[in-house]
């Protein structure tokens, strides 16, 4: 009936809880493949880097395994790569969460903590305002984070969300998509985004 969707290669970094990520792909009819091997990450058609603990722990693990270079190459080449939560953050230069730790530096900017006047962590559903023509449409997404990229970085298209001021809730360039929210936990809207991205399609557009 349907053409088989491309498989997804999910990067394990040792500390991530993958059950929700893998279950979401299976619901979409996509077979997830899990790896920690940088060469597999280089060869794979589509790669996901799920949210993983703290910025410092995630970077340490990426460096130990050699995944840092493999992921950077994919991002620079604009090859299909999906980074979630801390996955978005490690693409940046640095984070206030782990002073002195260098990120992958693919996205210019430093990740900073939310201001004290709002609830931290940001736990729950918040509005994502996305410009048309990208892999996601505007809607509500589920967030679980204490840190975020407070500005839209140069060279990337950004979706914006407000929690104590605007921050970049998603970034894309070529087939690289990075989300601060968790699409695998964002109900039908999140599954819609995953489905769009894995097919390399543009979101239908218009607000939900």
């Amino acid at each position: 009936m349907n053409a088989r969707l491309p498989d997804i290669t999910v990067v394990v970094t040792g500390v991530a809880n993958l059950a929700s990520v893998l279950a979401a792909w299976r619901r979409l009819g996509v077979t997830p493949h899990v790896t920690e091997d940088p060469d597999e990450v280089r060869r794979a058609d589509r790669v996901e880097l799920p949210g993983v603990g703290s910025f410092g722990a995630a970077m340490e693990r990426l460096r130990e395994t050699g995944l840092d270079a493999a992921l950077s190459e994919r991002v620079d080449a604009g090859r299909p790569t999906l980074a979630i939560c801390v996955g978005l953050q490690v693409l940046c230069d640095a984070s206030e969460e782990s002073p002195g730790v260098t990120g992958l530096g693919r996205v210019p900017g430093t990740v900073a903590r939310f201001p004290d006047r709002v609830r931290v962590p940001q736990f729950g559903w918040n509005r994502v305002e996305a410009p048309a023509g990208g892999p996601l449409e505007s809607g509500y997404a589920y967030f679980a984070n204490s840190y975020r990229l407070p500005v839209a970085p140069a060279g990337w298209t950004a979706a914006i969300t407000d929690h104590g001021g605007p921050f970049a809730s998603a970034l894309w360039r070529g087939d690289v998509l990075a989300c601060q929210f968790h699409p695998e936990l964002s109900g039908a809207w999140g599954l819609g985004m995953l489905s769009c991205w894995i097919r390399g399609e543009v979101a239908p557009g218009g607000d939900r």
Partner: protein, 251 residues
């Protein structure tokens, strides 16, 4: 702006939903996976599964229940009940929970919160705090499903748990749980202003109006079981009511 969350709670024992009054007198109310999918379709923002099994065998069933629910669920899932260690937390996270709630074990040994937060991140480390009003004011922590009063001040314990790594608090009024009299609003207000992390109101809600009161008192999310289980109202109807009263919800 972050929206107010509506969180149905499934009390599960031996793979079936039960709902009791003051944690006792349990009645059967259905299959967890079926109910979970129905709640997501109604617009639930998250789901909590509280395992009320009393035995090791029951706990193994709980992990299997979590797996079955995860297969059909695309919203966050918190699981609590009998979590005593990082290993217990890992088993539930591997099965498909996104967050684990610790209650009695954290009171006995607060380092379990730190251990879970350090291992899995503080977004996974939820404190389930059961509080009972004290004569002369304030609240004390109760544990072991309400059987034991600890003498520990509930607000001070909330602060300590957050300092130790708890990312969210599910705050249950033991006086109100199962009574359908509404949340303990003073307790919610006190906890909400004492800690920076989100507070999930629990215990006593019987109507959309009760949920509205809880959110206005300072809760970031409201948890309810019986008002949804017996088909008296849907999550969608509750959200429409809250939106009409100026609360921002996801619809």
């Amino acid at each position: 702006m972050i929206t107010a969350r509506i969180i149905p709670c499934l009390d599960v024992r031996d793979g079936r939903i039960v709902k009791g009054i003051r944690f006792q007198g349990l009645q059967d109310a259905g299959d967890p996976a079926e109910r979970a999918a129905a709640y997501e379709a109604q617009g639930a923002d998250e789901l909590v599964i509280l395992d009320v099994s009393a035995t090791t065998e029951g706990r193994r069933t709980a992990a299997e229940t979590v797996r079955r629910v995860r297969d059909v669920l695309s919203i966050p899932l918190t699981v609590g009940g009998g979590v005593r260690s990082v290993d217990d937390a890992r088993r539930l996270l591997d099965a498909g929970a996104d967050k684990v709630a610790v209650n009695t074990a954290a009171v006995r040994d607060p380092s379990v919160i730190t251990a879970i937060a350090e291992r899995f991140g503080r977004q996974c480390a939820i404190l389930a705090l059961d509080a009972a009003a004290r004569e002369g004011g304030g609240w004390e922590v109760v544990v072991s499903s309400g059987r034991e009063r600890t003498g520990l001040d509930a607000i001070a314990w909330a602060r300590e748990a957050v300092a130790r790594g708890a990312g969210e608090i599910v705050l249950t009024s033991w006086d109100r749980d199962g009574t359908r009299l509404g949340y303990d609003l003073d307790l919610l207000a006190a906890a909400s202003s004492a800690v920076p992390v989100p507070i999930v109101a629990s215990g006593g809600a019987d109507s959309a109006e009760h949920l509205l009161q809880g959110l206005r008192a300072g809760a970031d999310a409201v948890l309810a079981a019986s008002i949804f289980h017996y088909g008296e109202t849907t999550v969608g109807e509750v959200k429409a009511y809250l939106a009409d009263h100026g609360i921002e919800v996801r619809r």
